[in-house]
């Protein structure tokens, strides 16, 4: 919201003429000042010029040639990328050598070898608001060759750009901002435009409220003797500074009243207003209306129409007027509409139609349903400046439906205010703080009965008044205390385990990635995973609508990305959520760990799993009988805990690697952390270490491939019994000397007794038992 400094001082002359002090007070009152800008100062070198003709160049599609006269009768040529002007229009011309506000220097830069003798400017390029949709079109009847600011009667204005939040609908007008500031600076504030005297013969624009729930109040007044003209310079300057383009005195006064009183209103040409009346009703489904911006809008049965007395649509209620009753240069009698619309309905229409007008933005936040009279009075007062002969007619209408809101009164307990703010406040202090901003306070036992001003519909509860008290007392004065928790701070056991897991992974040389949790259509299928997934209704990028069910696709993309930048052997992990579908209230979201080791084969993943499992105190069954989807059929296993699969380990299927354009082999480990981190790990229990010498011996067995090494391992442990203190598989051999379909597995055993030194006889006995145990599996001791 743009608030003009001179305007504030006009409304409240007691305010300091000091932008720094005002800006600070505004921020402190919750009206955050994004910037204080100096606008409207003419850019030296930019003059008014008349468009003579325009011409396309056969080799230039995005620009055309515009010939202008800057008042000296000399035809100048400029290239222009905007097409919104035609012969006769008056436009601002930045002549060669002009330094633009954004720092650009206008040079006769040729296009297609033809130089440009300057540049035509948009409003934004001149610092006159945000409009950059085309070249700024100036009134046709102004002098040529003069600085455009002079031609427009612009003065330099200081403007506060305020970030006005939802809870301050009143601050969408200068009036509301001035009231807040007056209270803060403790200066008197009174806003009362001279009362309207209806001196004209009765002349009425009738009002019929068909759907009064959507429009609880609608007033009309007829004003004749209007002469359409330019607005005075000061008014045009302020409107420009506030970001609105001056058009003519009637439209400008309408806008001025909106920006000042926060009171959107609409002036219709009374002569073209069919049936000299208004009818407010919901549109029929599919009904159309051409709005002031020239667009034809197809409406729904939830859009509110302003129709004329003959039921012809003339405006989209609270959003935008229709083109058919626009004020023209010949208008002499206007019917002024000032209404109050139900906010949520306006919001729905604005959202649906994409039409966020100055009016709809205000109505949807909640305007003051009262105080319409002051707005009309101000309209008349201002229009009389340029139309001294105007007459206000008797017969004004103030139609209200039963939905017109009443006043809100809230009981405020001073003790409650103190309990919330940490500083005690008496009823008198509360009254003194909020009465200046329009809250009327009456004693109510020990409490305060606070009647909310009609321009603050956001205040409905006691806590809202607490905020107003705090705001005007000053947040900074409320002090800073630190509450002390009676509980110890810290990580939960799950969080501690997660940190430990991360440290273990980092220590193993694996770095952390954070791929996007959304996948593209087909990413899961390309990874060989089930395509069944939850989808987004409104993805940011069309097609990126799949909520991942596995961390693998994201990590594979990361591997491919790193390969493409010549970083092979990427070792990456992610700890993140996945969201498989479910029939419950929410998807079956859980936290997962995914690890990819590019350039490594399946055993690296198994080794990693063992390392992690040992560090975390986890155990799981490795089941190669069930090959997980997307993994190499001979190099993948499911990790199971009881009956539940809690992870996969192995190597990514070569088809998947091809689909992800990964050229290295990729070892992969995925774990369900929601299950694993929640498991209480076994605390390792002390086993006494023997003080007696240990003995090592090596055994190699030939076994068919069908006997998995895990079974051999188990058999050796059983055979050796408690004497075994260490067992390591140190060689696997297939080839000459070993039958086809078998391999030799070589183990080193370390045995030790707790209470003595093993004799040779002891060692032979253990060895024999081990050999016998492995023989049961079909294993033969290798020579």
């Amino acid at each position: 919201m743009k608030i003009v400094h001179s305007w504030l001082l006009d409304l409240c002359p007691g305010l300091p003429d000091d932008t720094e002090a005002i800006a600070e007070a505004l921020s402190d009152l919750g009206l955050a000042v994004e910037s204080v800008d100096r606008v409207g100062a003419s850019v030296a070198g930019v003059v008014t010029a008349k468009v003579l003709r325009t011409e396309r160049h056969p080799n230039a599609a995005k620009v055309h040639r515009v010939y202008v006269d800057a008042g000296d009768g000399v035809e100048r040529h400029v290239w222009c990328g905007a097409f919104n002007m035609s012969a006769g229009d008056v436009v601002p011309l930045a002549t060669a050598g002009t330094a633009m506000p954004d720092g650009r220097l206008i040079e006769p830069k040729p296009i297609l070898g033809i130089p440009s003798q300057g540049m035509l400017c948009s409003a934004r390029e001149l610092g006159l608001g945000d409009d950059h949709s085309g070249i700024l079109l100036l009134p046709h009847d102004i002098a040529l060759g003069v600085p455009y600011g002079e031609a427009l009667g612009l003065r330099e204005e200081l403007v506060y750009d305020l970030d006005v939040l939802r809870n301050r609908p009143d601050a969408y007008g200068h009036l509301g901002v001035a009231r807040d500031l007056a209270a803060r600076f403790g200066v008197p504030f009174d806003y009362s435009p001279p009362a309207v005297e209806a001196t004209g013969a009765p002349m009425t624009a009738t009002v019929e409220l068909v759907d009064g729930d959507r429009c609880p109040r609608f007033t009309s007044v007829v004003i004749s003797g209007v002469r359409v003209a330019h607005s005075p310079d000061w008014m045009a300057s302020r409107l420009s500074a506030a970001g609105m383009r001056p058009i003519n005195n009637v439209v400008d006064v309408s806008n001025y009243v909106m920006l000042e009183c926060n009171r959107p209103n609409h002036a219709y040409d009374y002569e073209t207003l069919g049936g000299h009346g208004f009818r407010v009703r919901l549109a029929a489904e599919g009904e159309t209306l051409v709005t002031l911006d020239g667009a034809e809008r197809t409406l729904t049965a939830d859009d509110l129409l302003i129709c004329d007395g003959n039921d012809r649509p003339i405006g989209l209620g609270g959003v935008m007027g229709g083109q058919n009753t626009e004020i023209s240069d010949d208008t002499t009698t206007v019917a002024l509409e000032t209404a109050w619309f139900e906010p949520l309905g306006i919001m729905r229409t604005a959202v649906r139609s994409g039409l966020r007008s100055e009016a709809s933005a205000r109505f949807e936040r909640g305007m003051d349903p009262h105080g319409i009279g002051a707005g009309i009075a101000r309209f008349v007062e201002l229009l009389r400046i340029t139309s001294p002969d105007l007459v206000v007619h008797e017969g004004a209408v103030d139609a209200r439906s039963e939905h017109f809101p009443g006043a809100t009164t809230i009981t405020v307990r001073p003790g409650r205010v103190g309990a919330m703010l940490g500083t005690p406040f008496t009823a008198e202090q509360i009254t003194a703080l909020i009465e200046p901003i329009g809250f009327s306070c009456a004693p109510d036992g020990g409490n305060v009965a606070v009647t909310v001003p009609s321009w603050r519909p956001d205040c409905t509860l006691e806590i809202d008044i607490v905020e107003e008290v705090a705001r005007h007392y000053g947040y900074a004065k409320l002090g800073k205390t630190v509450p002390k928790s009676s509980l110890p701070g810290g990580l939960s056991p799950v969080q501690q385990r997660r940190r430990r897991l991360r440290e273990v992974l980092l220590g193993l040389g694996i770095s952390e990635a954070m791929p996007h949790p959304f996948l593209s259509d087909g990413d899961l299928a390309r990874a060989g995973l089930a395509a069944d997934a939850v989808r987004l209704v409104n993805p940011l990028v069309v097609g990126d609508d799949v909520l991942r069910t596995s961390l693998r696709p994201g990590l594979l993309k990361a591997v491919a990305y790193n390969e493409s930048y010549r970083t092979p052997n990427a070792a990456m992990f992610e700890i993140g959520h996945v969201y498989p579908p479910s029939d419950d209230v929410l998807p079956a979201e859980y936290e997962a760990l995914g690890v990819v080791l590019a350039g490594r084969e399946a055993p690296a993943a198994v080794d990693l799993w063992r390392e992690i499992a040992a560090a975390m105190g986890w155990g799981a069954r490795l089941d190669q009988g069930t090959v997980p989807a997307g993994l190499h059929p001979g190099r993948g296993a499911t990790l199971s805990l009881g009956r539940d699969a809690i992870g996969v380990v192995g190597e990514v299927h070569p088809d998947v690697l091809d689909a992800y354009e990964v050229t290295e082999r990729v070892a992969v480990l995925e774990l369900n952390l929601s299950v694993l981190l929640a498991t209480e790990p076994k605390v390792p229990q002390w086993k006494p270490t023997s003080r007696f010498p240990s003995s090592d011996f090596d055994l190699a067995f030939v076994l068919p491939d069908s006997v998995i090494a895990e079974k051999v391992d188990k058999a050796i442990r059983q055979g050796a019994g408690s004497a075994l203190v260490d067992l390591a598989l140190f060689d696997v051999y297939r080839g000459k000397g070993v039958p086809e379909g078998s391999r030799s597995l070589a183990y080193r055993l370390r045995v030790q007794a707790a209470d003595r030194t093993f004799t040779d006889a002891d060692l032979s006995a253990i060895r024999e038992k081990v050999v016998a145990a492995v023989a049961k599996l079909g294993g033969q001791l290798r020579g």
């Binding site: 402190d28 009152l29 919750g30 955050a32 939802r166 809870n167 301050r168 906010p343 919001m347 729905r348 309990a419 919330m420 703010l421 509860l461 806590i463 607490v466 905020e467 705001r471 947040y475 900074a476 409320l478 002090g479 800073k480 205390t481 630190v482 509450p483 002390k484 928790s485 009676s486 110890p488 701070g489 990580l491 969080q495 940190r499 992974l505 980092l506 220590g507 040389g509 694996i510 770095s511 952390e512 990635a513 954070m514 996007h516 949790p517 939850v534 987004l536 209704v537 409104n538 993805p539 940011l540 993309k557 990361a558 990305y561 790193n562 990456m572 993140g576 929410l586 998807p587 979201e589």
Partner: protein, 333 residues
Amino acid sequence: MIDEILAARDGALARLAAVTNLADADAVTADLLGKKGPFAAFKTRLGSLATVDEKKAAGQAVNEATSAVEAAAAARRSEMQRAERATQLAAERLDLTEVMSRPTRGHAHVVTQAWQRLEDVFIGLGFQIAEGPEVETDWHNFEALNMPPQHPARSMHDTFYVDHGAPGSTVLRTHTSPVQIRVMQTIEPPIYMVMPGRVFRNETTDATHLAVFHQIEGLVIDRGITLADLAGTIEKFTQAFFGVDFTSRLRPSFFPFTEPSAEFDIRTPSGDWLELGGCGMVHPNVLRAGGLDPEEWSGFAFGFGIDRMAKERHGVADVREMYANDLRFVTQF
């Protein structure tokens, strides 16, 4: 005989002096002092001497000579040992900048690093950590936070809707605030919790905005909690996280789930104010949604972005870089 002994002693000392390495030293020593050495021989000859006095004198001479040779041998041995160790050490000299292995440690994501730093500071201030789902019900994300259907403030959240359950019933959480509700519903006050997590906004990404990013949110609910407690907690956090020469302030603002609401800014030692996040007293409607009586309990909440902490700490120009998973980026931190 005494002369012989003295001569043998001098000869032995000369031989020891002539050795040049440890092995020689040991061999010569064994030769001289062993059973077949000259001094052993003198001792056997002692019995053949005529008089007691002669025996006594010669015996003393042999013992003295033996001791002298033993001492010399030990000295020579240790001298040789030192020399050999010195030679070994000189030979083993390495250029310690001649290192061929590459560093192998893994690197935590910058956002994780910021996340954990923040958690640790809050733990120090007596907070615990709470977590919640990223796919949320509309009720938890909006309605329980004082944003009923059609509430205008909902339009400030560019929400990703999830095709799950009834249309519009499921969203990707737009903030970490739904965790507040889950905490209130499951934990009896007092509550001193922070809630870090991933959040989602359906807005176009650029150098400072992401559609998927991270927030940390704090929630304190206890008896007699005030706005001054909020200001004090923010101040304490500011100094613990940024440094003791930083200060903070609250400015009135608006959020549907807090009342009074505030923005909080921090002031750098150079005097600049930076906007950090939003905060306020938990709205009575939110306390009720969480199953708490606002007349009995009061509290405050605050929240801000984690990604920005990482971005600014490390001077990352474009926040999207942090999520490209490029190891050339990841391994810088």
